[in-house]
Amino acid sequence: MAKGNNQIEKLAEAPVEFIKDGSAFIQKCQKPNSKEYLKIVRSVGIGFVAVGIIGYAIKLVHIPIRYLIV
């Protein structure tokens, strides 16, 4: 019985432990400063939108094709 109780206790402790570890980790983390952050956002944004515009161009080509075959 005692052993079973122990296990249940452990199971209940796991998430608490996890949250503690996780938040400690996040607090220890190195955070980007605003200059670094802006640079990253810019490069990701440019890449994302550029690829998106190319893809959208392909989708636009699709519209007349749909009219033709449907």
């Binding site: 996780g22 994302f48 690829v51 893809g55 392909i58």
Partner: protein
């Protein structure tokens, strides 16, 4: 002997399944970019409408609308299921092998080949099963003729087969990153641009007025339109629910910014060389150690749950509110003649259509949906980091080969020290991503929240690989010269 092994199932199919060859020689930087981009564009181009759908309107509507954008699927086109079977079979097979639930000896070339073919076979089988669930549920029309059923099967499974090969091209080293990741990122980027800047017009009322798809373009067009007042135009641009509106656009951009921030959270472990004295450096361990994969995994599970429910409710019980299955699982209510919105028990795992609706009608979803994403994400992250070839032990091995060690540690205890950091990082990262996704989804983004998170993490992974490759190739790229980039812009 070991008896039956799952990967042996693929043996008879081995000569039948076509396979993409590994590149004969090292592929150049430019070629890789072109391969990656073109596979994405071919995928986008393959969104042809299905032939053989009955013209009469059917009362079975789209039950998985909120899962579509994350798996790059488009309703009633060849890519009805998008990348879902490819992603799910790859993730599940690797998990099974990693957790030693199926026996694969990755040191043997034959076993590796068999494993690969099994994964492919599993994906194609899923395309087949999903296609027939949708066909027989009446999603493509009631009373389809036999020819129509065969035709639909051929189209859906054929397209799926083609997609698996397309993904394999990028996977096998012709392109950057994993094929599914690259293609999804490109599709998500395209959808984002279409939702914000799309100029294609849709008819919105009987008087022949049209509105563009893009939220921003819509605002500009409405402001100039003569049949709307100024305030009406602005309110409409933020509120319309039949096409993307500006509120969602802003939310999506906000989520993207949050993920960008998280992506740069890292712990920097000081390292030093064991060969040369006095050379020190840092080795970063990311918070988002496994990137967006945990989100993908959660959504794979979500997809299975909803497909199982859909086949039960629609195929067996015909969505009849009086049947037992409907009462246990929950049924579907048609909305806007477009979507099939799940009802009570099932709706616990469905992102609501709007935050207000969620609060008024079912506040429990707030808890269950978030808990589901967090739970599956954390479980996956903890297991995946151990089996994906970038676990603490693998990094320690790399350190040893490159002659570096952690500052103030002996070489033997490096693995132990890393083991304290890596699993925590990957689990904490997965949980924070899951929280961001559920915040977005519960505000009513209908899958766009999850997809933008995946899109941004995918973009990061791609950009990182591209930059690394660019530096290794010594900046010898015609593409970069044409674009006038000194290599710093990426």
């Amino acid at each position: 002997m070991a008896g039956f092994r799952l990967i042996d199932v693929a043996k008879p199919f081995l000569p039948l399944l076509p396979e993409v060859e590994l590149p004969y020689e090292k592929i150049g930087f430019d070629d890789k970019i072109v391969y990656t981009l073109i596979s994405g564009l071919i995928f986008l181009f393959a969104q042809f409408p299905l032939a053989g759908i009955s013209k009469e309107s059917t009362n079975v509507l789209d039950p998985i609308y909120f899962l579509r954008s994350i798996f790059a699927s488009e309703p009633k086109t060849l890519l009805e299921f998008g990348l879902f079977p490819v992603v799910s079979s790859a993730l599940i097979m690797q998990l099974l092998a990693g957790l030693k639930l199926i026996k694969v000896n990755f040191k043997l070339r034959q076993d590796r080949e068999l494993f690969q073919s099994t994964t492919k076979l599993f994906a194609i089988a899923q395309y087949f099963v999903l296609a027939n669930i949708f066909i027989f549920s009446g999603y493509y029309g009631n009373n389809l003729s036999l020819t129509a059923i065969v035709l639909l099967n051929l189209q859906l499974v054929g397209a799926g087969f083609f997609v698996t090969l397309l993904v394999e091209v990028v996977d096998k080293g012709h392109g950057f990153a994993s094929g599914a990741m690259a293609i999804t990122t490109i599709t998500i980027a395209t959808n984002f641009v279409a939702d914000v800047l799309g100029i294609n017009q849709f008819p919105v009322d009987d008087e022949g007025h049209t509105e563009p798809q893009g939220a921003l373009i819509n605002l500009l067009q409405s402001l100039r339109a003569s049949h709307k007042t100024y305030t009406g135009a602005v309110v409409g641009a933020f509120n319309r629910d039949y096409l993307p509106n500006l509120t969602t656009a802003f939310l999506v951009v906000g989520l993207a910014a949050a993920v960008c921030l998280l992506q740069n959270y890292r712990i920097e472990l000081p390292i030093r060389s064991t060969r040369a004295r006095g050379t020190t450096n840092v080795y970063p361990i990311r918070l988002l150690y496994i990137g967006g994969l945990s989100i993908w995994f959660s959504y794979v599970i979500l997809f299975y749950v909803h497909i199982a429910a859909f086949s039960l409710v629609q195929l067996v019980a015909k969505n009849d509110p009086t049947s037992i299955i409907y009462k246990i699982v929950g049924g579907y209510a048609p909305v806007n003649n477009l979507l099939y919105v799940p009802q009570f028990p099932l709706s616990l795992l469905t992102p609501p259509k709007s935050f207000l609706e969620c609060l008024i009608r079912q506040p429990l979803t707030l808890i269950t949906f978030t808990a589901f994403l967090v739970g599956t994400g954390a479980w996956f992250a903890t297991n995946w980091q151990a089996i994906s070839g970038s676990s603490a032990r693998d990094i320690a091995q790399q350190f040893k080969e490159q002659g570096i060690t952690l500052m103030g540690r002996r070489e033997q205890s490096v693995a132990k020290e890393l083991d304290k950091v890596v699993p925590v990082a990957s689990a904490a990262g997965a949980v924070s991503l899951a929280l961001i996704v559920s915040a977005g989804e519960l505000l009513g983004l209908k899958g766009k929240g999850a997809s933008i998170v995946l899109g941004v993490t995918g973009t990061f992974a791609l950009l990182e690989l591209i930059t690394m490759d660019y530096q290794q190739s010594g900046g010898q790229s015609a593409l970069a010269q044409v674009l006038g980039a000194p290599g710093g812009s990426f």
